[in-house]
């Protein structure tokens, strides 16, 4: 017995060590980005990098502002210095720049949120209803239709970037919210239908039949019996769809310029007068990570069940 327990102990620790190593390796990029975002301007490009430094929020200020460099030889007067806000002072001290206006980041961020949230809502609503239909009714050519829906996922989206660009230009959807939302929804509905159909298939029909016998219409039954029971599937789908549209780069890059530009398309352009601003790019990335993280953490219970779905048969 004792030996067995000892063996078990070693195995247990081995597992923990392996898990910790994997976690550390996976976390390195994240750590690196967060770390870079808090480095003071002078430290960002220093080599070898210093391990200990005084953290600065200069990069975060830069990502939110547009600036110009003071012409060489000129410096702000003492009065001008005194009149500067705290963040203007930090910018001045770091890079010898003057803040001219608020930057584009908040607007891009709002664009990303608007497009991703609308896409997620649309996809989940359409997907749930379509999946319910496929799951519960005899749909003529069901197999073919489902295959057709799936086939939209068989090629990488990048392949259709150019045709979509040309079409969008013709119909005037370039650089519009509706353009990106439509595109993202179209790409994700197929995924949503397949995932949600699986979930709804698992809900025994008896629940709906019981409700219908009890005087509920098909639609009421769907709302009061099917929806509450597919929460897990809907949550998992929502997270995936949100993250897809939140991260999407290729279409956003090509189809948007200004009005509807999202963070991924905008973030790489942190070129300033003083060279590429790694600090601002890192700060922007950290802020960009937050919504996806919050959503994933909030829905993690459903997510785990959603990912492992089908692995265990009751």
């Amino acid at each position: 017995m004792a030996e067995i327990r000892q063996y078990k102990g070693i195995k247990h620790y081995l597992v923990i060590i392996v898990l910790i190593s994997i976690t550390v390796i996976m976390m390195i990029p994240l750590f690196y980005i967060v770390n870079t975002s808090f480095r003071p301007w002078a430290e960002i490009k220093s080599y070898p990098p210093k391990l200990v430094y005084e953290p600065s929020i200069g990069s975060y200020i830069r990502v939110f502002t547009a600036r110009t460099v003071y012409p060489s030889g000129t410096t702000p007067s003492d009065e001008e210095l005194a009149a500067m806000t705290w963040y203007e002072q930090i910018v001045y001290k770091d890079t010898n720049e003057e803040v001219v206006r608020r930057g584009d980041f908040p607007k891009r961020y709002a664009n990303s949120l608007l497009i991703s949230i609308t896409t997620t809502l649309l996809t989940v609503i359409l997907g749930t209803i379509a999946a319910y239909g496929f799951s519960r009714f005899k749909v003529r050519g069901e197999g073919n239709l489902l295959f057709f829906i799936l086939s939209t996922r068989m090629l990488p989206p990048v392949i259709v970037v150019i045709p979509v660009f040309l079409m969008y230009r013709t119909v005037g959807l370039n650089d519009s919210y509706i353009g990106l939302i439509l595109l993202y929804t179209a790409f994700n509905v197929s995924f949503a239908v397949w995932v949600l159909k699986g979930f709804i298939d698992e809900i025994p029909r008896e629940y709906e039949e019981a409700a219908m016998v009890d005087g509920y219409t098909r639609w009421e039954t769907f709302r009061k019996v099917v929806l509450p029971q597919s929460v897990t599937g809907i949550a998992a789908t929502a997270v995936f769809v949100f993250i897809f549209s939140w991260n999407e780069y290729a279409f956003a890059f090509l189809l948007t310029r200004n009005t509807a530009q999202t963070v991924p398309a905008w973030l790489p352009y942190q070129m300033g007068v003083l060279g590429y601003d790694w600090g601002a790019a890192a700060a922007g990335s950290v802020l960009f990570l937050i919504p996806a993280m919050i959503l994933t953490i909030l829905l993690r219970k459903h997510l785990v069940r959603g990912i492992s779905f089908g692995a265990i048969r009751k």
Binding site: E209, A210, M212, V213, D214, G215, Q229
Partner: protein, 369 residues
């Protein structure tokens, strides 16, 4: 509360006919059991009464109203499913009150009704729990509560106690029966378990291969089966069957046991029945275990055999007699029986209780309408 009438009802699923030409009357306040093996069409019949399936042909009349084309939600019928189908996301209270909520009844009234039902079913202490936390019996009671609360025109139950363990099943049978008496609702109950059917039904409708085989009170289907299927499906242990041939000797009709050639002299009333069907030669002789008597070897008008297996059931013994050709005949004996395995014996039959069937069609020759 109401009566239910099915007239020439058919249900087809593609090429498969699940129910054929069904005519059935369920009387007001009656407890009717639909009995049959799986796939016989009994559940389809129940679902057609509920409106979850619409018949392909025929008419369904509920409380003197033709509801054939009405959807389930418009029929005012309660359905208890095999696996209860309690909504897992709702508490017991909300499960039971679910049917009332769509009727626009105010909350206080709903609460009064739920409490009343919960008391009747003794589930008032679990109203806040979720179905996941309940035992099989409580699930059953909640499902019944959800059905009864609306005071529906009829209650339909689809093998509602099939998943419970044996001992508990017996308790639930009694409980269901009492509940039916208390609530007085017209009830149609589907089961494949003939013991349940015999125990609970005011009448039993036996179905097989999509066809209604026989309908009658439990003792009728037990002692006066219309055909071979009903005879073998009802009763535990089942009816014994012997293959016979009718022969004529000295102007009298005798039956010859094909196994060993022994002839059996028939009483007049049986002989007459066979005479009425002259073209018949192959006859299946059916007799229940309690209507066989073990007699000393060589008794007149008997069949020879030997004791093969003895099952001691406590209040009686079931003794298997192996006849010469290997046919087993099960006999119900008193527990004090001294027979041992291997004993040579003979058996005779209670001629009044013997059932004769046309071997080919399976129909009873002695069926009394």
């Amino acid at each position: 509360m109401a009566d239910i009438v099915l007239k020439n009802v058919y249900k087809r699923f593609g090429d498969f006919t699940a129910v054929k030409d069904l005519n059935l009357n369920v009387f007001d306040k009656e407890f009717l059991v639909l009995l049959g093996p799986s796939g016989c069409g009994k559940t389809t019949t129940l679902r057609m009464i509920s409106g979850l399936e619409l018949p392909s042909e025929g008419q369904i009349i509920l409380d003197n109203e033709d509801v054939t084309q009405k959807r389930a939600s418009r029929r005012d019928i309660a359905f208890v499913f095999q696996l209860f189908a309690l909504y897992p996301h709702l508490s017991v209270y909300n499960n039971i009150s679910f049917p009332l909520k769509t009727q626009g009844i105010d909350k206080k009234q709903i609460e009064v009704e739920v409490q009343k039902i919960a008391k009747l079913l003794q589930i008032d202490h679990i109203l806040k729990k979720k179905p996941k936390q309940l035992s099989g019996g409580d699930l059953q009671r909640v499902a019944l509560g959800r059905g009864l609360i609306r005071k529906p025109k009829a209650m339909l139950l689809d093998e509602p106690i099939g998943t419970l363990d044996a001992k508990f099943r017996e308790e639930m049978r009694t409980e269901l029966k009492n509940l039916h008496i208390d609530s007085g609702s017209t009830t149609v109950y589907v089961t494949h378990d003939q013991v349940e059917a015999m125990d609970m039904g005011d009448r039993i409708a036996v179905m097989n291969h999509s066809l209604l085989q026989q309908i009658g009170e439990p003792h009728e289907v037990y002692s006066n089966p219309k055909n071979l299927f009903v005879a073998q499906f009802i009763g535990s242990p089942g009816m014994n069957f012997l293959e016979m041939e009718s022969v004529t000797s000295d102007g009298k009709v005798l039956l010859k046991f094909t196994g060993d050639g022994t002839t059996i002299i028939l009483p007049d009333f049986l002989e007459e029945k066979i005479n009425n069907k002259k073209e018949l030669s192959k006859i299946t002789w059916g007799v229940r275990p309690e209507d066989v008597e073990i007699v000393p070897e060589g008794t007149k008008n008997s069949l020879r055999g030997a004791v093969f297996v003895i099952e001691n059931m406590g209040n009686h013994k079931i003794i298997d007699i192996k006849l010469k050709d290997g046919t087993l005949i099960r006999v119900r004996e008193l527990p004090k029986s001294k027979l041992r395995i291997g004993d040579n014996v003979s058996i005779t039959f209670d001629m009044k209780m013997v059932r004769l069937f046309d071997t080919e069609s399976g129909d009873s020759i002695v069926f009394q309408e």
